[in-house]
Assembly symmetry: C2
């Protein structure tokens, strides 16, 4: 059995599934991110957000992307072998994330293939689903991860 | 002529192009984001990052996504009419962003189409290219933006 923190490219196969810890999202965390990165009224101002289509403060979708990767990274799955990522695809925000929501990430391997140009690594395609405390998906995305092979 | 901060759905057409201001990215900004959202060694530890494939500290790609939207948002283009976004596609990290790099975003409208279900809004598809101080693309992505129509 491979330990969570000692996985290399060869240890990933389609269908592998990882569940993150849960993280409660505070209003302060939403507003801090929003003020610098995405200062739209529904991300930064609790009172004014009430008069928007969202009816209240919601997290920036950019923050949800970052929180999703944070929760996955903290499983340790990439700890031994990560060489970074060439990109992400199909990011879809499905429901607003509001102050007090608790997020969890389920990551599932779609495909694992060796690099054609670099023999020391492979590319693993991972589908992420971020759910709230009601089990409702708030975001989905697909990412490619470059991973080192066992030497 | 439409002012930058008074654009509605009807004011966007394919080929419209927006250039952001330039922002210098400090080591502190990279490390602050990395520590919470993406604590891989090449995003958080200047010394240890030297021994990685990146040869030094680089910004989390998730931070580059957020900085790209920040710079675009600060042009004011979405100020009057933004209703949020359903998603992003085809995020590609092309070159590392390092401390001291200066980023600028060029956004180009690909398509503008009315919503089929909600008559008060439309969807504008925007291609973003984030370049560094050498004019080299560091990231590209495509986003969909929901925009209010003039009432």
């Amino acid at each position: 059995m491979t330990s969570e923190r000692d996985r290399y490219f060869e240890d990933f196969k389609a269908g592998d599934r990882f569940e993150s810890a849960r993280l409660e999202i505070s209003e302060a965390l939403i507003v801090e991110f929003g003020r610098f990165y995405d200062a739209q009224v529904f991300h930064v101002d609790r009172e004014a957000a009430r008069d928007t289509v969202y009816g209240g403060l919601i997290a920036s979708g950019l923050q949800t992307i970052a929180l999703t990767f944070k929760l996955f990274l903290e499983t340790g799955t990439l700890a031994a072998s990560s060489l970074g990522s060439p990109g992400l695809d199909e990011i879809r925000w499905k429901k607003p994330v509001r102050p007090g929501d608790t997020l969890q990430v389920i990551a599932e391997v779609r495909e694992a293939r060796p690099s054609t140009s670099k023999p020391d690594r492979g590319i693993v395609r991972i589908a992420y689903t971020t759910v709230n405390q009601h089990g409702e998906p708030v975001m989905t995305m697909v990412g490619n991860q470059l991973l080192r092979r066992r030497s």
